[in-house]
């Protein structure tokens, strides 16, 4: 893992582990029966669909593996993954479809 010491990586793992645990424990363990305010619930509902796409979008358009040049095989694989996910509503099928499209694309274009 380029550029990080073992200690740094373990720090990331442990802090992420503790932080995640505390979020899971927060209400159940500490806050108790009080409901979250409506606006907070509303924002939290969208954490996953907002944070994950932001992480992935630049990698799809400018993959590091091709030195940041858009790559037809990877673009195709991304499009197929999203389409399969929307149609089947299942993560696993979408992964398989995207992986197959990537293999096919690399075979044809690579």
């Amino acid at each position: 893992m380029g550029g990080y010491s073992d200690l740094t990586i373990w720090t990331v793992i442990v802090v992420l582990g503790i932080g995640t645990y505390l979020m899971r424990w927060s209400f159940l363990g500490a806050v108790g029966n009080r409901p979250l305010p409506e606006w907070a619930q509303r924002l939290l509902r969208y954490t996953a669909v907002a944070v994950l796409p932001a992480l992935v979008a630049p990698q799809v358009i400018w993959p590091a593996a091709t030195q940041g040049h858009p790559d037809p095989a990877r673009l195709l694989a991304a499009a197929v993954t999203v389409a399969a996910g929307l149609l089947t509503r299942h993560t696993l099928w979408a992964i398989l479809a995207g992986g197959a499209a990537l293999a096919l694309g690399m075979g044809l274009m690579g």
Binding site: I13, N33, L36, W39, V51, L86, H90
Partner: protein
Amino acid sequence: MRSACMGALQALPFLLVLVPFALLFGVVATASGLKVAQTMGFSVLVLAGASQFSALQLLNDHAPVLIVLASSLAINLRMAMYSASLTPWLGRAPAWQRAVIAYVLIDQTYGLAIQRFERQPQLSVTQRVAYVFGASPVLCLPWIASTYVGATAGSLIPAHWPLDFAVPITFLAMIAPMLRTLAHLAAAGVSVAAALAMAGLPSGTGVLLAGPLGMAAGALVETWQGRRTARARG
């Protein structure tokens, strides 16, 4: 006891998704240069697929440690919502049981538990805890074991495979089925647009700005739609 068996049984189908997913994490993590022990550390201590992959992705991008932590923790913010939503059902269980449940509170355990509790509100607190305790080992132990298999068998995978793209595909495959409403689409759309616009910023910073923008967009659309429905009802 019956509740525990029921939990274990109803958790089984989720393994179809969890096992390949954990295998993939093991493979990609070791291919990115993590040691087997570190890879296992992620699955045992964090026990949350999406944030494990996000941390991996950002480490691969050489992002600063604080950004890796902030982005990956942001993905797990939804766990606070799970915790809040289970409290009315489990709040009266002994503190140690609630502490254990917090550790195993992943997407699948939460989904199973809340469905069961809402459908059978007559269950006692003991039965509810038993249900979660039955379902959790079936979900969490294979997650950990499959990570190990992936981490140790990863070297069998040919070097020319485009494993770099496994994480993006995995994320897209997780997001697409979640896009159920206009508000979800708005959240994802705004976050993608913002992330691309801010791609020039130091690694990982774009996520921290684009993520909250997307969340706000989702919440705004939901509010707006709620008002419109209320008005239509008169």
